[in-house]
């Protein structure tokens, strides 16, 4: 058993690599990458779609509107598109040197040595030696930090363009997920607060779902075929057929205080920071809950149906098992039979499903977060896709992949522990 799980964990490595390569390739194929997006931003100005133009922006750029080559090179370098895909992938992993702190140095015809200011009053000397460039520090020794290379694309006939840069190994393996293009912050910094938000809603929502569904499922199973069973079925299916985000939107309008009744706050994870910081701990707890009620309703309303039905069916199945007959035959009381024996076994399928649910919880729900103006994980991931924010997209997908891999193993473990008949080899 233990060897099985060790093997499973080791097998995560090729899976992880495979997944990330797949994602990386898909990302490259998407039309209109970050480079194009930046150009669009710069060149197009306002491209609005509206019934009549609101005319906030405009379209006009100085003169020819063909961006200067050197600037394009700088952009390409920034986004890493000056390198082949496999290198970009390896850089992203962190096992290929990442070039940082670029400087361009141009050698005019005949020149073989140049000084370059590298900031903070320091200078480096670049010497052309055939096809390669040597970087010398102020003592005249070959620099260990700075490197240089000839930029063949940028070089003109007799002018040789070189780039001076430092390298470092930093990628996902060193915990560096890169810097977001749209937030301009390290990916981890962008993710951390959103992750917390999604965990909060996910866990609370999950807890609520279990608290409602298990008792309800039991009751329905015990009263199978009764009016209660029927009515509760109808109710949970009404809930199931209303998309959570739609309900959320309606509730916000009705109860948010803008148009009808002023009961709940209008979206947000909690009160604005300036107010939040002035609150006592108790007030903060209350404020947090007050903000969470509507989103949680929207979040969990759709999940009641599935889990309740699962619980009910599972219990029904167990009640008709031989061991229950035996228990009855032995004269045990109904309560004891149902509550101690049947229900304990009925929770198994629900418990083993937890692994899968965790994944869903983490991924968040784009639509609900959008409706309630909550900065969660789902909205971040979705928006990153639309914005072609590759570092965020990759980080998001990687986290989802890792969680799913772990969750799969957890499910197996749960299954093996719960059901002794299942053996893994």
């Amino acid at each position: 058993m233990t060897t099985y799980f060790i093997r499973r964990i080791l097998l995560m490595v090729p899976t992880f690599l495979g997944s990330t390569i797949l994602i990386f390739i898909i990302l490259q194929m998407a039309p209109g990458g970050p480079l194009e997006r930046t150009i669009q931003q710069l060149q197009a100005g306002a491209m609005q779609q509206g019934e009549a133009v609101g005319s906030v922006g405009d379209i006009m750029s100085g003169g020819s509107s063909v961006l200067p080559e050197s600037a394009m090179r700088e952009l390409k370098r920034f986004y890493g598109f000056d390198k082949p895909v496999y290198q970009r992938y390896l850089i992203w992993l962190g096992i290929w040197p990442r070039e940082i702190k670029h400087r361009e140095v141009e050698f005019n015809p005949g020149e073989t040595e140049l000084n370059k200011n590298i900031g903070r009053g320091q200078y480096m000397t670049l010497r052309l030696e055939g096809e390669s460039v040597v970087v010398l520090d102020e003592k005249g020794e070959v620099s260990k930090i700075w490197k240089a290379a000839i930029d063949k694309e940028g070089s003109k006939e007799n002018q040789i363009l070189t780039t001076l840069f430092q390298t470092e190994f930093s990628g996902i393996l060193t915990g560096n997920l890169g810097t977001s293009y749209t937030y301009d912050q390290p990916v981890t910094e962008v993710m951390a607060p959103r992750f917390k938000v999604s965990i909060f809603f996910g866990l609370t929502g999950m807890l609520l779902t279990y608290l409602v569904c298990i008792p309800l499922g039991i009751r329905k199973a015990l009263n199978h075929g009764s009016a209660f069973d029927f009515l509760s079925s109808v109710t949970i299916f009404i809930a199931y057929s209303i998309p959570g985000w739609a309900l959320g939107g309606v509730l916000l309008v009705l109860l948010g205080g803008g148009s009808y009744w002023d009961i709940f706050p209008l979206g947000g994870f909690r009160s604005p920071t300036d107010i939040w910081e002035t609150m006592t701990f108790l007030e903060q707890v209350k404020d947090q809950l007050w903000h969470a009620i509507l989103p949680i309703i929207a979040w969990s309303i759709g999940s009641f149906a599935g889990l309740t039905v699962l619980m009910k069916n599972s219990l029904l199945e167990n009640i008709s098992q031989d061991y229950i007959r035996t228990a009855f035959a032995k004269g045990l009381q109904e309560k004891r039979v149902v509550w101690v024996h049947a229900i304990r076994n009925s929770v198994i399928p629900i418990a083993s499903g937890i692994g899968g649910i965790i994944g869903v919880v983490i991924a968040g729900s784009y639509l609900i977060e959008k409706v309630f103006n909550i900065d969660g994980f789902g909205k971040m991931g979705f928006q990153a896709i639309l914005d072609r924010d590759y570092p965020i997209t990759l980080g998001f997908l990687v986290i989802v992949v890792v969680i799913r891999l772990v969750a799969n193993i957890l499910s197996d473990i749960a299954l093996a522990t719960v059901d002794p008949r299942i053996r893994f080899r």
Binding site: G32, I39, Q41, G45, V56, S61, R73, V253, L266, P272
Partner: protein, 641 residues
């Protein structure tokens, strides 16, 4: 995406007038009240180098001096204005950075910050668009119109107390020219100039490489000056990092304190009490709010509206006709607590409609383009869907002086369309009802739209369908759509561009750009006469002649017809809680959008008290006239004189 993205420099005019109140002149020193004089003056710099006393030499040296006529005071801020209060505004995006330059800084939020916290050398007059002082109190243009001199006002101060000097201008230019700030269009704009030269402590000059009347606007107007003291300590990439969420000291009336930047939630501008030009009459009665708070609600228009209705924001711009007509009759409005205004201005309406790709079938044929235009029944859509809120657009410069009055006023005309299509060879219909060309091609093409615009295009699809033109619609995400557009991989495209106060036809109409990818000449427009006119336009310093040129271009464009124009709106629909005072005209003449409120409006405590009382007692407040026609009437008056 409905993101409103902006090319900074272009906004030049927008931002110019926007700051319109930043000007500073010797008046500051003369207003006596010395509360502003808590800084030391540099009396050692000789007048020749721009020091005190320069104003006496200015005329002799050929410098322009501007004095504001007292009757124009109102356009620089209403003397009734009071200082104080907070203006809360909801915005749909938290800016990726608080920088005003460099990567990711060309969004509208950054532009707003730039306009309120920093200043350029000169400015444009809010009424006449002539140059007025900002950081520079005087300026001079050489006879060949290629060299400009600016004399910086020695009173001008950074928020850290340092003086504004010529070196700041050079450092700012250097920053823009640094490729590592990852804003390539900056190098394009500022690359039009040689490196500025320090002529004296307060005097700076610059030479432009080509002759163009716009150059002084680019350099003097759209470039906000940043402090050299800090810029000299960083290079481009360090600037990007260091000032990501930290403000460089500015010269403008507002600043953003670091603790007021709450990532992804809100940011607040605070009025500076030590603003150097605060006693200048051109600035005295504007920028009245103590704080301007931007609350972020991302991509969620209904929630923004709810928040406004609840009172969490003070101001709301209504973009959709339906919302304006059907959903602004709630209690607060009928009680007069929220005022409803339709403010007309001469803000350019921009261009919207369907752009044809003239490079390929079927729109390489003008008859087909015209036929589609005649079949596009925008009047009906305005009537049935937009509550008659809009007017029809028949020019690239709809509603402005640049509009060519002789452009054909296209109206729905199916008979003409059918005739044109027949002439073009689309004579038969197949069994599905689509028109077929004599050579067997079915008149069918594809339109890519983004989520949310389908209601604007499906009626057009039906209109075309009735006459046998098959327009298929598909959803595409914004980036793919843009990519296809720039690769000219489209047949027809629904576009809307914002308008410019000073049009720049070259970038979208020049023949040389027609066959190049990644340019704004989307339709593939080629016309020798327009090329000639564009060249002439750049070197024409007379505004009257420029208007003629643009009108001629507009006429040619309308005739070639690379686009079926849509509907136009020459006003702003706004709602606000009734606690503000504002000048009679409400918004600026040429840049009149919500941002005028930041500078020109003020908080009126008496009104707020009345509002509070009315809300507590559930009583009515007076409801003012919805239509604000100040600018149209002003124009009428000007024209009649």
């Amino acid at each position: 995406m409905k993101r409103i993205q902006i090319v900074v420099m272009l906004i030049l005019v927008v931002s110019l007038v926007f700051w319109s109140c930043g000007g500073g002149d010797k008046q500051a020193a003369e207003t006596g009240d010395s509360s502003s004089d808590n800084f030391t003056r540099d009396m050692t710099t000789p007048a020749e180098e721009g020091g005190y006393g320069f104003e006496k030499l200015a005329d002799a040296l050929g410098y322009v001096t501007y004095e504001m006529p007292p009757e124009e005071q109102i356009y620089f801020g209403d003397p009734r204005a009071k200082k104080g209060g907070t203006f809360r505004h909801i915005t749909s995006r938290f800016p990726a950075t608080m920088r005003t330059e460099g990567q990711n800084a060309n969004y509208i939020e950054n532009n707003t910050i730039s306009g309120l916290c920093y200043e350029g050398l000169i400015n444009t007059h809010p009424l006449t668009l002539e140059f007025i002082p900002a950081l520079a109190s005087h300026w001079k243009i050489s006879d060949d119109k290629k060299k400009f001199w600016f004399r910086i006002n020695p009173d001008a101060r950074w928020s850290d107390g340092r003086e504004v000097i010529a070196e700041d201008v050079v450092a700012t230019w250097d920053l823009h020219m640094d490729e590592t700030i990852l804003a390539p269009s900056d190098q394009l704009t500022y690359g039009k100039f040689e490196r500025p030269v320090i002529e004296g402590k307060y005097i700076v000059s610059v030479v432009s490489k080509d002759l163009s009347w716009r150059n002084i606007l680019y350099f003097g107007g759209s470039m906000v000056i940043l402090p050299s003291y800090y810029l000299n300590q960083v290079d481009g990439s360090e600037y990007l990092k260091e000032y990501q969420f930290k403000m460089l000291p500015g010269t403008g009336p507002y600043e953003i304190k670091e603790e007021d930047i709450i990532n992804q939630e809100s940011f607040t501008l605070t009025r500076r009490l030590d603003y150097w030009a605060k006693n200048d009459l051109m600035a005295k009665y504007s920028n009245n709010f103590d704080k301007i708070k931007f609350i972020v609600v991302k991509d969620n228009l209904p929630l923004m509206f709810e928040k406004f209705k609840k009172g969490e924001a003070d101001f709301f711009t209504v973009a959709q006709a339906r919302v304006w007509v059907e959903e602004t009759d709630f209690d607060a409005v009928t009680n007069g607590w929220i005022q409803k205004k339709k403010v007309y201005s001469e803000k350019p309406a921009g261009t919207s409609g369907y752009a044809f790709n003239m490079r390929k079938w079927p729109f390489d044929d003008k008859r087909v383009r015209m036929a589609v235009t005649y079949l596009y029944n925008r009047e009906k859509m305005n009537e049935e869907m937009y509550y008659r809120e809009y007017s029809m657009m028949n020019s690239l410069y709809s509603g402005s002086i640049y509009e060519n009055p002789n452009n054909e006023k296209v109206t729905y005309n199916p008979e003409k369309a059918v005739k044109l299509l027949q002439e073009a060879g689309y004579t038969k219909r197949n069994e599905d009802g689509w028109l077929v060309h004599e050579d067997g091609r079915v008149l069918s093409f594809e339109l890519a739209i983004q989520k949310g615009s389908d209601y604007m295009v499906t009626p057009v699809q039906q209109m075309l369908k009735e006459y046998g033109v098959d327009m298929q619609i598909k959803y595409e995400d914004g980036n793919s759509s843009w990519k296809n557009l720039m690769d000219r991989n489209f047949t027809i495209y629904m576009q809307s561009w914002g308008g410019l106060v000073f049009p720049n036809p070259e970038t979208s109409l020049k023949s040389s750009l027609a066959d190049e990818k990644n340019t704004n000449n989307i339709s593939g427009f080629k016309n020798a006469r327009v090329d000639e006119l564009c060249e002439e336009y750049d070197v024409t310093f007379s505004q009257a002649r420029r208007v003629e040129i643009i009108r001629e271009i507009d006429g040619i464009y309308s005739d070639i017809h690379p686009a079926a124009w849509g509907i136009a709106r020459n006003y702003q629909r706004i709602l606000y809680w009734d606690k503000f005072g504002y000048p009679e005209y409400m918004v600026n003449r040429f840049t009149g959008d919500y941002r005028s409120a930041f500078t020109l409006w003020w908080f009126e405590p008496a009104k707020e008290a009345a509002l509070k009382a009315a809300m507590a007692n559930n009583t009515q407040l007076p409801i003012s006239e919805v239509d604000v026609m100040y600018w149209p009437e002003y124009l009428k008056q000007v024209n009649s004189n």
